[in-house]
Amino acid sequence: MASPDREAFTNPRTWKKPPFIANPLVRYGLLVVLAAYLVWAFGSLPFNWERISEGLPRAARIFGGGFPPSLSRVDLLLTGFTESLQIAILATLLGVLLSVPFAVMAARNVAPLPVYLLGRAVIIVSRSFHPVIVAILFVAAVGFGPLAGILTLTLYSIGFVGKLLAEEIEEIDWGQVEAMRSTGAGYLATLFYAVFPQILPRQVGLSMYQLDSNLRASAVVGIVGAGGIGSTLMNAFGRYDYDFAFAILLVIIAVILASEGVSGWVRKKIW
C-alpha cells in the first residue's frame, strides 16, 4: 500500500461528496442553531425524573395486568362500538351535507368576496382545532354523550370536506357555467346544473374517506366524554381494568384496519 501522501500525489483528484448545503457558513450555522434549540428546549421542559424513573416497573405492572386481554365484558364493548359507528355515520351525513354550502361559500370563482372570506374563516377555524378540543367544548355545552360527539365530528367533517370540495369547485371546467349563464339561468340553477355535477364524484369519494376518518376520530372524542368506544376505554383505564382496556385497544385496531380496507375498496370502485 502506498502511503497517503504518495497516493494524494499520484491521484490528486480524490472525489468528495458535495455537501448538502453549499455555503459552509449556513451549514455550520444551522448546526449551531439546532444545538442551541435542543439545549433550550430540553432545559425549559419540566421533566419529573423521579416519577419517570418509576416508569419501567409501572409499565411492567400495566402490561402484566393487560395480558392476556380480557373479553369477559364483550357486551359493553359491542355497545361502545355500535355507538361509535352511529356517531360516525350521522356525523358524516350531516358534515357532508353541510360541507356543500360552506364549500360554495369558500370557492373564489362562485362566491363574492365577503362571502368567500366568511366561508374560508369557517373552514380555517374548524380545521385549526383538534377534534378533541372541539369535543370538550361541546361536552361543556350540551352535556356528556353521543350528541357532543356527533356535533364535534360534524364540524370536523365540514372543515375537511369543505376545504377539499372548495378547491375542487375552484378547478371546475368553466365552459359549462358559461353555457348555463348564456341561456339566462339564475345563480342556483347554474350551481345545480353546471357546478355540482362536476364535483359529485369527488364528493362521494370524500364522503367515504370521511366516514373512515370519523370512525377513527369517534374513538378519541369519547376520551373527553363525547360517547362511543372512547368513553368505554377511558372508564376501563380509569378503573385500572387494564386487561379490558387492552382488549378494547386491540378491537379498535382491528376495526380501523377493516374500515380502511372497506373504504379503500369502495373508493377504488367509485373513482
Binding site: A41, P46, I52, V132, L257
Partner: protein
C-alpha cells in the same frame, strides 16, 4: 331524413341506463336504512338536541370577551407545546428511518424484517396520539415526557410508511452501479439510496411537524403537557373568557405553523 330527425327527437335522454339506476337506488336505500337505524338506536335525549343551539350560543356568550390576564402563562404553555412537537418529530426520525429501511421491499434484509417493520408501522398508526398519551401518562406520570413519547409513537408509523414508499420508488440503477464497484452496504445506502430519498424525507418530516403541532395542543387534556393542561384547568373552573383566549392562541399557533412549513417547503424543496 326528416323521419330520422323525428325519431331522434322522440328519444328521451337519460343519464343512466336501467342497471345503473337500479344500483344507485339500491345504494340510496341501504344508506337510508343505515341512517334510520343509527338515528333510532342511538342513545340521545332528543330535547337536548333541540336545546343545543341555545346552549352553544350561551357558551359562546360566556366566552366573550376573551380574558387576556393569563396571557403570559398561555404563551409559555404554547412554547412548551411547540417544543413537544419539535423534539418528538426530531426524535422520531431516528426510529422511523431504520424501520422504513426494513419495511421497504427493495432494501429489507429478509422477510422476517419486512413483516416486523410493517407490524411496527401499522400498530403505530392505528393507535391515536391521545390513546398513546393515555398509556404513557399511566406509565411515566403526567408531564411532557408522556407527551413527547405519545407523539413519537404515533409519528413513527406516519413517517416510516411514507419513507418506506419513497425508498421503494427509488431508481435501482445507482444502487446496482455502486454494488458493481464492490462498495460496502453502508456506502451503497449513503451514496445511492440517501440522495434519492432526501427530498421526500424533508417533505414528510415538515408535513408531520405541522400535524404534530395540532396534535400536541390536546395532549394536556389527558395530562401529557402543553397548552391542553391550562385549557383543561380553565374549563374545569368554568373560566370561559380564558378558554376563549387559549382557543384564539391555538388558531394563531396553527396559522404560524402553516406559514413556517410553507416557507420551509419553498426554501428546502
Amino acid at each position: 331524413m326528416v323521419d330520422d330527425a323525428d325519431l331522434l327527437a322522440d328519444r328521451v335522454w337519460r343519464r343512466h341506463n336501467p342497471k345503473e339506476q337500479l344500483i344507485r337506488f339500491g345504494v340510496m336505500l341501504v344508506t337510508l336504512m343505515v341512517v334510520v337505524w343509527a338515528v333510532s338506536d342511538i342513545d340521545i335525549f332528543w330535547p337536548w338536541v333541540w336545546d343545543a343551539p341555545n346552549q352553544i350560543s350561551s357558551l359562546g356568550a360566556r366566552m366573550w370577551p376573551p380574558d387576556p390576564t393569563r396571557l403570559g402563562e398561555i404563551v409559555d404553555a404554547m412554547i412548551e407545546t411547540v417544543h413537544i412537537a419539535t423534539l418528538a418529530t426530531m426524535l422520531t426520525i431516528f426510529i422511523a428511518l431504520p424501520v422504513s429501511y426494513i419495511a421497504a421491499q427493495n432494501t429489507t434484509p429478509n422477510r422476517a424484517c419486512l413483516w416486523l417493520g410493517r407490524f411496527i408501522l401499522v400498530s403505530s398508526r392505528s393507535v391515536n396520539t391521545i390513546i398513546w398519551a393515555l398509556l404513557f401518562v399511566a406509565i411515566f406520570g403526567p408531564g411532557v415526557l408522556a407527551g413527547i413519547l405519545a407523539i413519537m409513537f404515533r409519528s413513527v408509523g406516519f413517517i416510516g410508511k411514507l419513507m418506506g414508499e419513497a425508498i421503494e420508488e427509488i431508481d435501482r440503477r445507482p444502487v446496482e452501479a455502486m454494488e458493481a464497484t464492490g462498495a460496502s452496504k453502508a456506502k451503497v445506502i449513503a451514496y445511492a439510496v440517501v440522495p434519492q430519498v432526501m427530498p421526500a424525507f424533508f417533505a414528510i418530516v415538515i408535513l408531520r411537524w405541522d400535524i404534530n403541532i395540532r396534535e400536541s395542543t390536546v395532549l394536556g387534556l389527558v395530562g401529557a403537557g402543553g397548552i391542553g393542561v391550562i385549557l383543561q384547568g380553565s374549563i374545569d373552573t368554568f373560566a370561559w373568557p380564558t378558554v376563549a383566549t387559549i382557543l384564539i392562541a391555538i388558531i394563531a399557533l396553527v396559522l404560524v405553523g402553516e406559514a413556517v412549513t410553507g416557507l420551509l417547503r419553498r426554501k428546502v424543496l
